[in-house]
């Protein structure tokens, strides 16, 4: 069965299994949680017994043990709650670390098409917040539900031992107070997931448009229209939320109702049992007052159900991201040729659901450069992704040295530098080593000099060892493009694909690109260059255009 067709519950189960969280870790947290909330139940029960017993004016020694137990429960609740929170968070965090490593590894091994088709925001959301949400399923859904079951069972056992009929009444009320709000909450969560998410997306789009296009709206006098669009979207979102809030409110009402009914029933049964002589006073006090403490654990059920839905949605998104294509066939170390010639034969490319590009043909031999031009959005990046072997052609063929390209060529025979290629939050040198692990400092300086970044790096506080990107030194757009070119030049693959997104390169950028192309030619590498800047076409041996 494909992961996509699996139920949410199955997906979440699979994801939690992948966290490698040991059963014992969860059991331990549930035990601690049971001790914590069980202490509250115990405190209520023993305190009721103590007061009722004391009313019979026995000798103080007769209640000494009960008094000690009450004090013990007074302390144990806080202590065990602390232990439970530590145990559950530790288990979940360990699980998320394992899951993240496995998900990363699985993603890295999955088809080049999957990986290159990922949008940056998506990966960060899936591997960050979504994995955390799966971990939260342990802390906020599984453990509270487990504690609700054990504590309810303990409460029922205590009451049933004293008065079986009252135990039955309590059990019925506890089950109803758990199950009915759970069903209503699930309903609320489903409505929110469908209508709420759609309405929320509309609100976001309207708000962003009103802000991003503000100057335009002012010039054209459409500010009010934009504000009205946002108001309309907000009203729709309020309405969608209203629909979801209705069952949630009933859930809250029913919790109060069933715990109240239990109180009424057990007070009545307790009093009647004493009047009939079936039960002594202290036991009746326990039966009558226990419902005041017994419902705290099931009170956590709606929140746990909400968390289940959040976590299941996260598990689904994660599964879908990894499930796009089967993993790469196991590839041992492959023979990578020193030079490779590339041919496009009536090649037309498209991501699934996209309009295929017009067919193009070209042949590029080692030491030659092919330029690809075309207006924005026409599919130039898709063409590069296809040439890289990550995407099967929509029609026609890509051949490398006469054989069709395959996903196994991505990164080995064909190295691609995408327009949004990542500058890692590490040193300049490590950023260049992304292309090849053994780049020496001399090689790094050579590559930087080629693209005219040597002066910039020398000016950095720690030269090659300066941290860049997130948490490090910020890199301007022009510097970034040139750094990526330097990296592309260091990659050992015989075919280099470079996506140059700038609509208009500044002089330094154009110089860097010329120097890069000259160097690649001299090394006998095969280059495919996407560009918008028609003044750079003289660099190429041949040009294909994707415009009709």
């Amino acid at each position: 069965m494909s992961r996509r067709d699996a139920s949410d519950l199955a997906l979440l189960r699979a994801a939690i299994r992948d966290t490698g969280v040991r059963r014992w870790a969860i059991v331990r947290a549930i035990l601690a949680g049971t001790m914590a909330l069980g202490s509250a139940v115990g405190l209520a029960a023993v305190a009721a017994w103590l007061i009722a017993k004391a009313a019979q004016m026995p000798s103080p020694a007769d209640v000494a043990l009960a008094a000690t137990v009450v004090r013990f429960f007074g302390i144990s609740r806080g202590v065990f709650r602390y232990l439970e929170r530590l145990a559950s968070h530790d288990a979940a965090l360990r699980g998320v670390v394992t899951l993240r490593e496995r998900a990363y590894d699985r993603l890295a091994r999955s088809g080049a098409r999957t990986v290159l088709g990922l949008r940056r925001g998506d990966i960060v959301a899936r591997m960050g917040a979504d994995l955390d949400a799966i971990g939260d399923a342990v802390v906020r859904a599984i453990i509270p539900l487990g504690v609700a079951v054990t504590v309810s069972a303990i409460s029922v056992a205590i009451v049933a031992f004293l008065l079986p009929l009252a135990g039955l009444a309590l059990a019925v009320c506890l089950v109803l107070a758990g199950v009915v709000p759970a069903i209503l909450t699930a309903r609320s969560a489903r409505i929110a997931a469908v209508a709420g998410a759609r309405a929320h997306a509309e609100v976001s789009a309207a708000a962003l448009s009103a802000m991003d296009g503000a100057t335009e709206h002012r010039v054209w006098g459409t500010l009010d229209d934009a504000a009205a669009a946002l108001r309309g979207a907000d009203r729709d979102a309020e309405h969608a939320h209203e629909l979801a809030a209705r069952p949630a409110a009933w859930a809250a009402g029913f919790q109060a109702l069933f715990s109240g009914l239990a109180l009424v029933a057990l007070v009545a049964l307790g009093v009647l049992a004493v009047q009939r002589g079936d039960l002594d006073g202290p036991s009746a006090a326990v039966v009558a007052l226990l419902p005041l403490a017994a419902f705290e654990a099931v009170g956590a059920v709606p929140a746990a159900i909400m968390q289940y839905f959040r976590s299941a949605a996260a598990a689904r998104r994660l599964a879908e991201m990894v499930d796009e294509t089967p993993a790469d066939e196991a590839t041992g170390p492959r023979e990578v040729p020193a030079a490779s010639s590339l041919a496009l034969d009536a090649l037309s490319v498209a991501w699934p659901g996209m309009e295929p590009t017009p067919p193009v043909s070209a042949r590029v031999d080692p030491g030659q450069v092919l330029a690809v031009v075309g207006r924005s959005g026409v599919g130039k990046t898709t063409l590069l992704t296809t040439i890289a072997g990550a995407l099967p052609p929509a029609a026609g063929a890509v051949t490398l040295d006469g054989r069709p390209s395959s996903p196994a060529d991505t990164g080995t025979v064909v190295a691609m530098t995408a327009e949004d290629a990542h500058v890692f939050g590490t040193t300049v040198l490590e950023n260049l080593r992304v292309a090849r692990g053994d780049v020496t400092e001399d090689e790094a300086w050579d590559a930087l000099t080629l693209v005219g970044l040597d002066g910039w790096v020398r000016g950095l506080p720690a030269g090659l060892a300066t941290e860049l990107g997130a948490g490090g030194r910020s890199v301007s757009g022009g510097e970034r493009r040139r750094l990526l070119l330097a990296r592309a030049g260091l990659a050992p693959a015989p075919v280099a694909l470079v996506d140059e997104p700038a609509e208009h390169l500044d002089d330094a950028g154009a110089d860097a690109l010329r120097a890069f192309v000259t160097r690649m030619r001299a090394q006998g590498r095969t280059v495919v260059l996407v560009t918008h800047d028609l003044s750079l076409l003289d660099l190429a041996d041949s040009v294909v255009s994707l415009d009709d």
């Binding site: 202490s39 405190l43 305190a47 103590l50 004016m57 000798s59 103080p60 209640v63 008094a67 004090r71 609740r77 806080g78 530590l86 360990r94 998320v96 670390v97 993240r100 890295a108 990986v115 990966i123 960050g128 976001s204 708000a207 448009s209 503000a214 100057t215 335009e216 002012r218 010039v219 006098g221 946002l230 907000d234 309020e238 209203e242 809030a245 209705r246 949630a248 409110a249 859930a251 809250a252 009402g253 009914l261 109180l263 007070v267 009093v271 009647l272 006073g281 009746a284 007052l289 207006r375 990164g411 995408a418 990542h422 890692f424 992304v434 692990g437 700038a502 609509e503 208009h504 500044d506």
Partner: protein
């Protein structure tokens, strides 16, 4: 952080109303809890007392639930009525809280968007748009748990807790003293724990965030690694970073959960002490069973709202932080509003636009782009602005729309100034004459389904058909194919030939060829911070 932002109360109508309603429901809840406790005491006392009850153990509070409730039928009826009422209040509370929460969020969002939309392009260029976008699309949603979970508990803490305390005092002063002594210990110990652990948790938090950022950075770069064939190595590094992050997180949680433990410990222990003390006093005959039962049921209720406030504190902190960010933004003064008015705008038709010494500082203040731009845009002519990226072509066009106040220089029409560094003509009368097409036009909701190229065409059509005499075009031919480019250039030419003043920022040789005058735009290092 304050539990309640006064600005929410003062400036957001639905928030103010909801807080009043919540407080009202809090009092109703307090009353219901009180009646419930008193009825339980009434019902149980006769069966637990070894001798018939002589006097009213509920003292003055017996007036609320008379002794008649000692009979099973009456007592249970009252108890059932209380249960029904509490069910209704729980339903109503949840329902109203959701409704008020989303209303407040909508209103704040609309206020922020409205405010930002009129802040002008200089503010937008200041690099805070992403932060504000996150705030209005996601951040403000954190206010919902604040309204639904936290605020009701806060209301109960300020209603139920004092009411119960007064009742306990009326029933049994010694128990009230125990409660009164422990109650202030709760905030005291929590503050103390907070102070002792502050430095440690700040250190852990910083380590957590750093490690988290590094892991995400590595994950973000996966497509790049795959494209270079280097994707296999980092899984182990992801694990290492994750483990380090887990250790840092646990370190901070071990500390953070301490305050929760203190809260639970003090509140539960106090209830235990009240129970035990009453037990021994019952044996000594110092209090009656009816009183003891009422106090036993009421004592936990004094602490319960406090505990819940503590539990939902973090949910509330995020919501309040979002509200704070929104109000801070709303309270920022807009310097553009302080501009002097130069009266109604002169008619642009048939008169040249003169720009002298125009300079605009970049957001970081290090450069002027453009620096000292001077040009005369004649009516019936196309004036092109040329220059490398980042030299200030788009900014110069924005200044011509009048929406961006320059740091120096003037824009005049036939000698009449329309824009200086501290004055501008009436916005509406000027904008009515200006057509402007930015790079990447937005077009509002209508433009969302269109591709960038289509939007560009649509925006250009709007400008060409507007009949406005001053037409400002920013890279009008980007995102267009060759045929469309030629058509756009032809229409731009035709517009000028018909008498319009056209100013176009461009790189394209074809556009430059079609221009009557070409002005070089250059930036300069800002000598003194403006």
């Amino acid at each position: 952080m304050k539990p309640l932002d006064p600005r929410l109360v003062r400036r957001i109508g639905p928030a103010r109303r909801h807080i009043l309603v919540t407080a009202g429901l809090g009092f109703v809840t307090a009353l219901l809890i009180l009646v419930q406790a008193l009825v339980i005491a009434r019902l149980l006392a006769p069966v637990l007392s070894p001798v018939p009850l002589a006097d009213d153990g509920l003292h003055w509070w017996g007036r609320i639930v008379p002794e008649g409730a000692r009979t099973l039928a009456t007592g249970l009826t009252v108890l059932a009525a209380v249960v029904a009422a509490r069910t209704a209040v729980a339903w109503l509370q949840e329902r109203l809280a959701h409704r008020a929460g989303v209303r407040v969020i909508s209103q704040l969002r609309e206020m922020v968007v409205d405010h930002v939309a009129t802040r002008g392009p200089r503010w937008s260029a200041g690099g805070r748009t992403a932060e504000v976008a996150t705030l209005v699309t996601r951040g403000l949603d954190d206010l919902l748990p604040y309204f639904v979970r936290y605020l009701p508990q806060l209301a109960l803490a300020v209603t139920v807790t004092p009411v119960m305390l007064v009742v306990v005092l009326g029933l049994d002063w010694l128990s009230a003293v125990i409660v009164l002594v422990t109650l202030p210990l709760v905030p005291m110990f929590m503050i103390l724990v907070g102070l002792v652990t502050q430095e440690r948790s700040a250190k852990h938090l910083e380590a957590m965030q750093r490690l988290g950022a590094r892991t995400l950075d590595l994950i973000e770069g996966l497509p790049t690694l795959k494209a270079l064939g280097r994707e296999r190595g980092p899984a182990a590094r992801v694990r290492e970073l994750g483990d380090a992050q887990r250790r840092a997180t646990m370190g901070s949680l071990r500390v953070a959960f301490l305050s929760g433990m203190v809260l639970e410990l003090l509140t539960t222990l106090a209830v235990a002490i009240v129970a035990v003390t009453m037990g021994f006093r019952l044996i000594a005959g110092e209090i009656g069973i009816e009183t003891a039962l009422a106090v036993l049921v009421l004592a936990p209720e004094v602490y319960l709202p406090l505990r819940n406030v503590g539990t939902h504190f973090h949910a509330s902190a995020d919501g309040l932080a979002a509200a704070d960010a929104a109000f801070t933004l709303l309270d920022e003064k807009d310097p553009a509003r302080a501009r002097r008015s130069l009266g109604a705008a002169p008619d642009v038709r048939g008169r040249a636009i003169e720009v002298t010494g125009l300079a605009v500082a970049t957001p970081d203040g290090t450069r002027l782009a453009p620096a000292a731009l001077g040009l005369v845009a004649a009516p019936g002519a196309v004036t092109a602005l040329r220059g490398p990226n980042g030299e200030g072509k788009s900014t110069a066009l924005l200044a011509l729309t009048g929406l961006l106040a320059p740091d120096a220089g003037t824009v005049a029409v036939g000698g009449d100034p329309v824009l200086t560094d501290d004055a501008a003509v009436d916005e509406a009368s000027w904008l009515a004459q200006v057509a402007w097409v930015p790079q990447r036009p937005d077009l509002g909701p209508a433009g969302r389904t269109l591709s960038l190229g289509q939007r560009q065409r649509r925006a250009l059509d709007r400008a060409f058909d507007s009949g406005r005499p001053l037409v400002l075009l920013d890279e009008p031919t980007s995102h267009l194919d060759r045929a469309s480019r030629a058509e756009v250039i032809a229409r731009m030419r035709a517009l000028a030939d018909a008498g319009a003043t056209v100013v176009v920022a461009t790189h394209e040789a074809e556009v430059l060829e079609a221009a009557d005058a070409v002005v070089e735009v250059t930036a300069a290092r800002a000598e003194v911070a403006p």
